[in-house]
C-alpha cells in the first residue's frame, strides 16, 4: 500500500476528501487494536465515531480499485446511517467513473436499494436490480437477486 497505492495522487486526494484517514501499527497498543482486532495486515476498515464498522477488507488494494472499493464503503456508511441520498450519490459516482471495476456490481446492487429507501419506489428497486442483471450477469451480486 505504501509503495504503490497511497502514493497515487488520486488516492490521496480521495482519502483526504471523503474520510478521516487513520493508520495504526499492529505493534502499538492503541485502543483501536482491541476494538477492531486485526488478525492480518493490511486490514482496512470504514468505521464511524461510534466504532461501528461499515466495511472491512484485508490485503493489498491496487490503485485502480482503491477508489471504487472505498466508494462502496462510503456509500454503505451513509446507507447504514440513514443518509440515503448521499449513499445513492457515492454508488452512482462509482458506476459513472468506474463501470468496469470489480466493485461495480456491488455498487449497482446497493444503488438500487438506496434509491428504494430514498424514494419508497419499489419500481426503482426492480429497475436497479434489472440493470445489475443486464450489465453484470456473471457477477456474484447478480446471483443474489431474488427476481428471475
Amino acid at each position: 500500500m505504501d509503495t504503490v497505492t497511497y502514493p497515487e495522487g488520486k488516492v490521496a486526494e480521495f482519502l483526504n476528501r471523503e474520510f478521516v484517514p487513520a493508520r495504526v501499527s499492529v505493534k502499538e497498543t492503541d485502543e483501536a487494536i482491541a476494538l477492531f482486532k486485526p488478525t492480518w495486515t493490511p486490514t482496512l476498515l470504514c468505521v464511524d465515531v461510534h466504532g461501528d464498522v461499515h466495511y472491512r477488507t484485508v490485503g493489498f488494494v491496487p490503485p485502480d480499485e482503491f477508489i471504487p472499493e472505498f466508494l462502496v464503503a462510503r456509500g454503505l456508511a451513509a446507507f447504514n446511517q440513514g443518509q440515503y441520498a448521499a449513499a445513492v450519490g457515492h454508488f452512482a459516482r462509482l458506476l459513472r467513473e468506474a463501470p468496469q471495476s470489480a466493485h461495480a456490481p456491488h455498487a449497482q446492487y446497493w444503488h438500487a436499494v438506496a434509491e428504494y429507501r430514498q424514494s419508497g419506489s419499489r419500481d426503482a428497486l426492480i429497475a436497479g436490480w434489472k440493470t445489475l442483471r443486464e450489465r453484470y450477469p456473471e457477477s456474484y451480486w447478480s446471483r443474489k437477486l431474488p427476481i428471475g
Binding site: 500500500m1 478521516v20 484517514p21 493508520r23 495504526v24 492503541d30 477492531f36
Partner: protein, 32 residues
C-alpha cells in the same frame, strides 16, 4: 502530489471525524 493527512491514533481519528463529520478510513499495518 497530495499527501495523505493520516491520524495515528483512534482517539485522534474520532476527534477529527466528529469535527469534520466524516467516516474514518482505518488502516492497520505492520511496520517495516
Amino acid at each position: 502530489m497530495a499527501t495523505i493527512a493520516w491520524e495515528t491514533s483512534w482517539s485522534g481519528a474520532k476527534e477529527r471525524a466528529r469535527r469534520e463529520d466524516k467516516p474514518i478510513f482505518l488502516d492497520f499495518f505492520a511496520p517495516g
